[in-house]
Amino acid sequence: MAGRGTRQRACMVCSIVLNASEFYKNGCPNCESILGLRNSQDAIQECTSQVFEGLIMMGDPKSSWVAKWQRLSNYVPGIYAVKVVGQLPQEIIDTLEDNGMKYIPRDGTSVEDDVAA
């Protein structure tokens, strides 16, 4: 269920799954400009989660429906999670919005929102 064994973490914004060390070394390939995970253990702790389910190997985000559905179309190819449990700190969400990105929680909460809307 959760990332067991390896210390893999999933970015709570784009849901990309990487090792904690990779996040530390290179940051999140999609959201680095906003989250600034590189070299920041705290940011990694806050913005990535070890609890995620369902791995997606995304080879061709542009044409993939899965990518579209998961809103990964504009992200880099890689491994993503279907569901990432955890909540981003509010200030990060604000920053995201200020940067023109709508934060879609990936822990399943948005589904209900959609239905409601």
Partner: protein, 1096 residues
């Protein structure tokens, strides 16, 4: 033409809020209209798409040509009005949203058409600008120059549309009127206008971009969402269609899904630079849910999937590959939200020492990934550590042991609350009290313990948060106990944990229920049927009355009214309580229990209307009074009162407790339980016992359970007469069925010799000389299980035959009378009775037992038998009796044993005189077996007799016993014992021999007569010489006379009894003979005595 027009529009429309959407269209429609008219191909798509709106514009632009004019305004009116309504309904923000949405769509639809986008943007701008109404401007515009006539007109039309929306109906018509007159030129004009339009549009687009940028800056937050690369489109608009790649489900090794995905990713990356790159779009797995054992690959073609999956371990693309229907694709990626973890909720620990243990959430980290959980600790306090081992080594060893047996699930210490005192014993150095508020907080080995509970942080992935199903006992363990001992059970949190685990079984047809959730909320009815999670309800209230509605269990709750008599059926620790509903709040019901008058609060789902009229004891308890029940693993008790909802129990320790029936368990009574009482005698269920000491209660044993006796005294009032005591504290007073319980030392049971006699006695009567004729015969079984079988008689007893069946390899015992003897030659069957009769002879007689006791025939063996016995028996008896002296005379120890039987013989016969019947075989028997005699002696308890005379001390007590036994009757009267004792002792050992001399006068006197006798018959020599022949014993002479005396006396006695005197005389020679044979002296004495006797 549109372009310039739009620039105008931009300006114009600034004023009109509501029109934003419509504004947008008219602008285009202008163009489209034109197109329609002129077959201009420039924007075919747009026109097509906007045809709807085009119709709106028609009145203005081409009302004439189409002749729709008359109709269209009205239509427009309607449509627009509708639009407006919508628009009005929404507030500003919403509108913008719409705008955005539209944009989005626009993007989608138009794809690459910049113009449109620009327009959109313009409109956005307009919208933004339009805060100030532009009515005045419009007016102005209306009156604008003719140069822009067409456009203006169009614009105006649009305006008018809008105006119309603003209820300018008549005006609109008037305005349009002039247009109607224009059509002919309008066509031509249109072209030019359109050219202009285009130019304008170009410029405008540039401007628009700038402007957009400006706005973006100004209203960044709102607009960027729309413009950000991951623009938010509701997911339901992202539904897959046929143009999207397909998804195939591929079987794989369950549990390896993630690995496979990772491998595929690697493979994908590697293949990218190669000649034939992987062509799949994506691949994904959904973990260990219902889709375990599958990965899903998204690709355009199936071949691509095959290519991608070849040479990937654990995937089986060769097995059936399922194409996922387009409709089901979103389901594959459905994400269900984890239940929100709430403080006070319950979780289970996934791994480690506390695996499976229930924990209560103390707090949750803000990111929801780390949870502080309260647990009941499992500590050893170092008790399992090897003290001898040095600490370092210990630590080293411990690590590997983490996965070893020491900390294994099975060996882990039990759940117990933290006890600082125990921790101090060995681990004082690890223990530290936290100076907190409560003072009950400790740090021990790096963990925090509060109020005895372990407070520990867990990562979310190490917790089970779903389907926790806390059990009541676990919850109670986890529940803090307040200072006053009351339990702070948080019903609220319990409710949360339990609500989702509603079992279907909770609803029974007839329950009154209420729907509190979902579409049918508010419906009240009675359940008709329950199928799985769906309950059919017959509606009883409201407008749906009488209808059958199906509702999921989830949204149901039972409905009670205050005052209802309810029974608690499950989930709560109050199970089986019955009470009255006091208060109902949502699904929590407060009940006043009948039993304890407590107010308890439970969920309505755990309630059921109590059957019966109400009141305690409405139904029978499942326990009965006097039943043995188990209270806890070590305590048993006896029910002393059983109500429907409570049981009063007297436990083995004598205390009385009240329990709910569900808390106790019946113990299957062991009917044959045996115990021993204080005195060691056995007690069984049903025996009457008395308490030793204490209150001396008595009663009948109801149960014996592990050293405790539950007894019932009918007269007792306390505890319905039931009392309990340890087995060792009771004394049995009367055993059931008269069983002898006193520990009587029945020596007859202990004496193996006596034990042996029994079979002998029973064996004796049959008297079969030779073997049973039945043995070896071929017989037919007439009765019983083996009726009809044939068998060979292997052995027989008095009444039974032991048969070896012919059909089966089996040997059975069967009554002889159930047999028929089969003649081996003729195969004729003869019933055993007949057969044995026909054979005649003694055996037939022997078969007689059927008539009476086996002995009777013996005794009745010819009426004269007794006589014969008398005769026959007498002779030997006498013979032996007379021989006795002779035997005594020799006094040789060698003969002793040999004689004993002989000696017994007479005494046996004597005894049998009293008894009668036995004589016959007693006589003959005496020669054959000494053992057989023993029983005869038994009759007269020789032991006491011997004891009286102190003979028991003599070496061969057996001898004494025989003697004593046999003589008892005779001697007691005649007091000749000493004399008789004399020979006995003489024969055996000198020591006793002294006695006769000492005590009994007769003993002394005895020699005297004999001496005198000898004197008479010149027997002096023998007398003097007696010592000499005495051989071993110096006393030899003494006994001799003694025996003589004895012998004399005995015959005398016998004589007195009516036997003829000659017999002794006759017998006298016999001893004489024997005596002579042994030693001359006594022999000589013998006859002399005989003479004496004669003389006497």
């Amino acid at each position: 033409m549109a372009a310039p027009g739009q620039s105008w529009l931009t300006q114009d429309f600034g004023g009109d809020d509501e029109e934003s959407d419509n504004d947008f269209n008219p602008g285009l429609e202008m163009g489209s209209d034109a197109e329609a008219d002129d077959d201009d191909d420039q924007k075919p798509r747009v026109s097509a798409q906007r045809s709807g709106s085009a119709s709106e514009d028609e009145p203005a632009a081409d009302s004439k040509t189409n002749g729709k004019k008359s109709v269209s305004p009205v239509k427009e009116e309607r449509e627009v009005a509708a639009d407006e309504d919508e628009a009005e309904g929404e507030d500003d923000a919403k509108e913008e949203d719409n705008g955005e949405d539209d944009e989005g769509e626009g993007e989608d639809l138009n794809g690459n058409e910049d113009d449109e986008e620009d327009e959109d943007e313009e409109e956005d701008d307009e919208e933004d600008e339009d805060a100030v109404t532009s009515r005045p401007r419009k007016r102005r515009r209306r009156g604008l120059n003719q140069f822009f006539e067409e456009e203006a007109e169009v614009d105006e039309d649009d305006d008018e549309l809008e105006a119309e929306e603003d209820d300018l109906g008549p005006e609109f018509i008037q305005d349009t009127h002039p247009d109607d007159d224009l059509p002919p030129e309008a066509d031509q004009d249109d072209r030019r206008h359109r050219e202009l339009d285009r130019q304008r549009q170009l410029q405008q687009s540039l401007d628009a971009e700038q402007e957009a940028a400006k706005f973006r800056e100004r209203y960044g937050r709102r607009t960027t969402t729309a413009l950000s690369n991951s623009s938010f489109v509701p997911q339901n608009l992202l539904m897959p269609d046929v143009n999207d790649p397909s998804i195939w489900g591929v079987r794989c090794k369950a549990g390896k899904e993630r690995e496979i995905i990772n491998k595929l990713m690697k493979k994908f990356i590697e293949s990218q630079g190669s000649r034939n790159p992987m062509r799949i779009c994506s691949a994904f797995e959904r973990g260990d849910g219902p889709m375990a054992g599958y990965i899903f690959v998204e690709a355009r073609r199936k071949v691509d999937v095959d290519d991608a999956l070849t040479n990937v371990a654990d995937v089986y693309p060769r097995s059936k590959m399922n194409l996922v229907p387009v409709k089901e694709m979103p389901d594959l990626l459905r994400v269900t939200k984890n239940r929100e973890l709430e403080v006070g909720g319950y979780v289970r620990i996934k791994r480690g020492l506390y695996q499976g243990d229930l924990g209560m959430i103390e707090s949750v980290e803000t990111n929801g990934l780390e949870v502080t959980v309260r647990l009941v600790p499992r500590l050893t306090y170092g008790m399992d550590e090897d003290q001898a081992r040095p600490g370092a080594a210990d630590a080293k060893r411990k690590r590997p042991n983490n996965f070893g047996p020491v900390n294994s699930f099975a060996n882990r210490p039990p759940q117990r609350l933290f006890n600082e005192n125990e921790a101090r014993k060995r681990h004082d150095r690890f223990l530290q009290q936290n100076r907190g508020l409560t003072g009950r907080s400790w740090s021990y080995k790096g963990d925090l313990y509060e109020d005895g509970f372990l407070i520990k942080d867990f990562k979310l992935q190490h917790l089970i948060t779903e389907n926790v199903n806390p059990r009541l006992d676990e919850i109670t363990k986890l529940t803090r106990t307040a200072a006053d001992g009351s339990e702070l059970l948080d019903l609220e949190s319990l409710a949360h944990s339990l609500r989702n685990t509603t079992a279907e079984g909770n609803y029974v047809p007839g329950d009154e229920v209420e729907v509190y959730e979902g579409e049918q909320k508010g419906i009240v009815g009675r359940t008709e049927a329950v199928t799985g999670n769906i309950v059919s309800i017959m509606v009883t209230e409201g407008e749906l009355t009488g209808q059958l509605v199906e509702v999921p269990v989830k949204g149901l709750r039972k409905r009670f009214r205050e005052g209802d008599n309810v029974e608690i059926i499950g989930g709560s620790k109050y199970r089986d309580e019955v009470g009255m509903v006091l208060r109902i709040k949502d699904d929590k019901v407060t009940v006043l229990t009948n039993n304890s008058n407590e107010e308890i609060t439970v969920f309505s789902k755990d309630l059921r209307e109590a059957t019966g009229a109400g009141g305690a004891g409405a139904g029978a308890s499942k326990f009965d009074v006097q039943e043995l029940v188990q209270i806890d693993p070590t305590t048993a008790g006896c029910v002393i009162r059983a109500d429907r909802e409570s049981v009063r129990i007297l436990d083995q320790n004598g205390s009385v407790t009240t329990r709910i029936p569900s808390q106790v368990q019946k113990i299957e009574a062991r009917r044959n339980a045996v115990a021993t009482d204080k005195n060691g005698s056995e007690i069984r269920v049903g025996d009457v016992v008395r308490e030793s000491g204490g209150e001396n209660k008595s009663g009948t044993i109801l149960h014996i359970h592990r050293g405790f006796v539950f007894a019932h005294n009918k007269l007792g009032i306390e505890n319905s007469g039931i009392w309990v005591a340890r087995c060792t504290n009771v004394i049995t007073t009367a055993a059931k069925g008269g069983r002898i319980t006193a520990p009587s030392t029945d020596l007859s049971k202990m004496n193996p010799a006596l034990q042996m006699k029994r079979p002998d006695m029973s064996m004796a009567p049959p008297q079969r000389p030779g073997r049973d004729p039945l043995q070896g015969k071929f017989v037919h079984i007439n009765k019983g299980t083996y009726k009809g079988h044939r068998a060979i008689v292997k052995d027989t007893t008095a009444g039974e035959a032991r048969l070896e069946l012919q059909t089966k390899h089996k040997t059975i015992n069967i009554s002889k009378f159930d047999l028929s003897v089969v003649d081996t030659n003729t195969q004729n069957k003869t019933r055993y009775e007949d057969w044995i009769r026909n054979r005649g002879g003694p055996s037939a007689m022997r078969a007689g037992p059927g008539f009476s006791g086996s002995r009777v025939p013996d005794s009745g063996f010819g009426g004269r038998t007794p006589m014969g016995v008398m005769d026959g028996g007498r002779t030997p008896a006498w013979g032996t009796a007379s021989r006795t002296p002779a035997w005594g005379g020799p006094g040789s120890s060698a003969l002793e044993s040999g004689r004993t039987p002989a000696w017994k013989g007479p005494s046996g016969s004597q005894t049998s005189y009293g008894g009668g019947g036995m004589t016959s075989y007693g006589g003959p028997g005496n020669h054959s077996t000494s053992g057989s005699r023993t029983p005869a002696w038994n009759a007269g308890a020789k032991t006491p007799y011997g004891a009286d005379h102190g003979f028991s001390s003599s070496g061969n007590s057996g001898f004494d016993a025989f003697a004593a036994g046999s003589r008892t009757p005779a001697y007691t009267s005649s007091s000749r014992t000493p004399a008789w004792g004399g020979p006995g002792n003489a024969a055996s050992a000198p020591t006793p021999a002294a006695r006769p001399y000492d005590a009994p006068t007769p003993g002394i006197s005895a020699p005297t007569p004999s001496a005198s006798g000898r004197y008479d018959d010149d027997a002096y020599t023998p007398y003097l010489g007696a010592p000499t022949p005495g051989a071993g014993p110096q006393d030899a002479p003494t006994p001799a006379p003694g025996f003589a005396k004895n012998a004399n006396k005995e015959p005398l006695k016998n004589n007195r009894l009516g036997f003829d005197a000659p017999t002794p005389a006759a017998s006298a020679p016999t001893p004489y003979a024997s005596g002579a044979f042994d030693a001359p002296t006594p022999a000589a004495g013998g006859p002399r005595y005989a003479d004496d006797d004669d003389e006497d």
